[in-house]
């Protein structure tokens, strides 16, 4: 038996709490003092060398935010956050000034990404996927940029896009998620620091997956990134997002905004594997993940698919949604949310049908273990203009052990009688009998649990790009290793 557990340790270098990305990178940082006020916002805008309209935009959001209340309606409790005790800007120090290249990035940062499996140098970069690597508040490198430029695709940090193509940013930023949308969206609009910008021109099918890897490193720092993806008529892009953070005893805030715009016949596929540090067994530390993600199917026959594997964060508050404005538009939401230890997840989607013959599919798989709470919250709204709209929703929950909970809060609003809606929901338990059954067929406990979980999540995993699917399976296995008694 002893040699077996050693093999496991070798394949997954596990740190306390089973989290293998919990290391801290020692870099010299260029940071703003703690606290939030108009000077800090001006500081961020200056650091980013932004056009004047951006500062105005930020300040407007900030002033609106000041009058808003932190939301506490989700199915979990958290202590009010002290927004003056957070650092809103932290960047690894550059060696020089001027246009950034990877040579100027602290070698420790490049090494950190390599350790995370994201090589950034030209020689080692991943084939088949272009990566934008965001470290705390800034993007430190984007691979494959030149190859993409030949196709007219713009894939760069959003701060760079503000210099490269300010008109595009100005036109679309905030068009899907306005700063008035919610408390965290307003906060993000005021203080966002980086994130990715993707623009796929008319008729272009992006040949590689575009990907952003978010890494929180610095202490007491929040990460507020903003991602904006625009697919012009007939364009296609598949975008992947990954995230990790070090093990720390304090909670850290992550409040991101993602906006997707798909014009006529365009398709955007957005996949996330979220593995922020989730806190320890007693629930100390971990990321507060308050994220607003929304896509606009603006054109006819457009399609937006969200696939998410949510396996980290102390708190996840996230509802990737689609506004189906164009006729015949398609919105999809595929989700696996796993909670373990003391984690809380309140996640789901909104499908807003406006156009005729719009279709949406929701498949949500929640897995709760240990003492965690896992809720699905969804809204399907059929507007009067949405003739013949269709929705199919399936929300399944799986409980592992006796101390966790699962809830579903599905909401349906129909204002057009031609709509067809289907809703299915199940709750099941991974049982000791299932594990024993598989063990009695020669599979070890980990393999047995992986097989059961895999089966449960199959409908979602099959929508992920292959490598991501493999990573997702491994991630869930690791998180559940000690949960089935």
């Amino acid at each position: 038996m002893s040699d077996k557990s050693e093999v496991l340790q070798n394949s997954y270098p596990v740190e306390p709490g089973g989290y293998k990305y919990g290391f801290i990178t020692d870099v010299e940082a260029d940071a703003a003092p703690k606290g939030l006020n108009e000077q800090i916002i001006a500081f961020i805008s200056r650091k980013k060398d932004e056009p004047a309209f951006m500062l105005e935009w930020r300040l407007k959001a900030y002033r609106h935010w000041l009058g808003m209340k932190e939301p506490h309606w989700a199915n979990f409790k958290y202590a009010p956050i002290d927004y003056q005790d957070i650092r809103y800007y932290s960047a690894p120090k550059k060696k020089g000034t001027g246009p950034s290249s990877l040579d100027e990035v602290d070698a420790e940062v490049v090494k950190a990404f390599e350790k995370l499996g994201i090589p950034l140098t030209e020689q080692k970069r991943l084939a088949g996927v272009a990566v934008d690597a965001v470290f705390d508040s800034v993007s430190v490198g984007t691979t494959h940029q030149k190859d993409l430029e030949k196709l007219g695709i713009i894939f760069c940090p959003i701060s760079e896009a503000l210099r490269k193509c300010p008109e595009l940013v100005k036109k679309y930023m905030g068009s899907v998620v306005p700063h008035t949308d919610n408390f965290f969206a307003a906060l993000n609009a005021a203080v966002f620091t980086d994130g990715s910008f993707c623009y796929i021109p008319e008729g272009v099918r992006c040949p590689v997956d575009l990907s952003t890897y978010f890494r929180i490193n610095a202490k007491d720092t929040g990460q507020f990134e903003r991602t904006l993806i625009i697919a012009e008529k007939g364009a296609y892009v598949s975008y992947l997002e990954g995230c990790t953070a070090p093990v720390r005893d304090e909670n850290q805030l992550h409040a991101a905004v993602v906006e997707l715009i798909a014009l006529d016949d365009a398709q955007i596929k957005y996949s996330t594997v979220q593995n922020w540090y989730a806190g320890d067994k007693e629930g100390r530390g971990g990321i507060y993940n308050f994220v607003t993600k929304r896509g606009m199917c603006a054109g006819v026959n457009s399609k937006i698919s969200w696939t998410q594997v949510e396996a980290g964060s102390a708190i996840t508050w996230k509802y990737p949604s689609v506004i189906l404005k164009g006729d015949n538009a398609v919105g999809e939401f595929y989700s696996v949310a796993l909670t373990s230890n003391r984690m809380n997840a309140d996640t789901g989607t909104k499908m807003i049908h406006m156009g005729r013959n719009t279709r949406s599919t929701i498949i949500s798989k929640g897995i709760s273990s240990d003492f965690s709470h896992n809720s699905y919250r969804g809204l399907v709204k059929i507007m009067p203009s949405a003739e013949n709209a269709r929705n199919f929703s399936q929300c399944d929950s799986m409980l592992v052990g006796n101390n966790c909970s699962a809830n579903t809060f599905p909401r349906i609003e129909v204002k057009n009688n031609s709509a067809t809606l289907e809703h299915e929901a199940t709750t099941s338990k991974i049982s000791a009998e299932q594990v024993f059954y598989l063990q009695s067929r020669g599979l070890n406990k980990e393999e047995a649990i992986a097989l059961v979980i895999n089966g449960f999540c199959k409908d979602v995993f099959k929508t992920l790009p292959l490598e991501f699917a493999v990573e997702a399976v491994r991630l869930l296995e690791m998180k559940l290793e000690n949960s089935v008694g």
Partner: protein
């Protein structure tokens, strides 16, 4: 091959087996009969290593690499890899996992353990289809999720299919006949008989004699209140069919 000595075993704090002895040699088929609640299923679970069942006293020895080894503390997956197989009375459903994928994972787990070549889906497909023919199983089942929406009879056939794939040295069949009509029972029995060789052994647990018309045992035991109270040849099963258990218990 299997030697159980003075075994006491409990589940949920209740002692079910109370001094059970059983010795099984390669090439033999043993039938274990007994009234309800006598400990038949407990015996099957304890041999396979169910974690809820605990050995309080005694030993369960199984031949591994030519040496009798006490397996009482061994994980169920290791026992399976060493050649112990339990056909479940109530096979468990695994939603979303195709039967073919499950069977191949199991096969490969055993193959890895014995240093044999693993099979990829292309090799495995003809292999499994051949085994299914013997059991007259509809091929559609290999693409379906394990035991999900299977009829009672199909679940039992699926158990014997797994046995055929894993080719165990010791198979324990726990009430495989329960819930089967006569035709299904004949098919299942045929599947079992095909797998019978000189080097493997079977322990057939059953409440009724009728399965033993099709799977002929060499030795019949009667289990009562956690102990073997009578051991004899196949004629014992016929006597029980005729007279019930009362004459043995009194």
């Amino acid at each position: 091959m299997l030697n159980i000595k003075d075994l006491y075993a409990s589940v949920d704090g209740h002692q079910i087996l109370k001094g059970l002895d059983l010795s099984v040699k390669a090439g033999e088929v043993h039938a274990i009969m007994g009234p309800n609640g006598s400990g038949k299923s407990t015996l099957s679970k304890i041999v396979a290593g169910h974690p809820q069942y605990t050995v309080d006293r005694g030993s369960i020895e199984f031949e591994i690499n030519g040496a009798m080894t006490n397996i009482a503390a061994m994980e169920p997956d290791l026992r399976a890899r060493e050649g112990i197989f339990l056909a479940f009375q109530y096979p468990v459903e695994i939603p979303g996992v195709p039967t073919s994928e499950f069977l191949r994972s199991s096969y490969n787990a055993l193959a890895r353990h014995h240093g044999l070549a693993e099979m990829d889906p292309l090799d495995f497909d003809p292999f499994i289809r051949e085994k299914m023919k013997v059991l007259e199983m509809d091929e559609k089942y290999i693409d379906r999720a394990v035991n999900v929406d299977f009829s009672g009879g199909e679940k039992k056939r699926n158990e014997i299919l797994q046995m055929a794939v894993l080719n165990p040295r010791l198979a324990v069949l726990d009430e495989t006949d329960s819930g089967l009509d006569v035709d299904s029972m004949k098919i299942v029995a045929h599947g079992v008989n095909v797998l019978r060789t000189k080097r493997n052994a079977m322990v057939v647990i059953t409440h009724y004699q009728r399965l033993l018309n099709y799977i002929k045992p060499d030795i019949v035991h009667v289990l009562y209140q956690g102990r073997i109270i009578k051991t004899a040849g196949p004629e014992l099963a016929l006597q029980i069919e005729e007279k019930g258990y009362d004459w043995l218990i009194a």
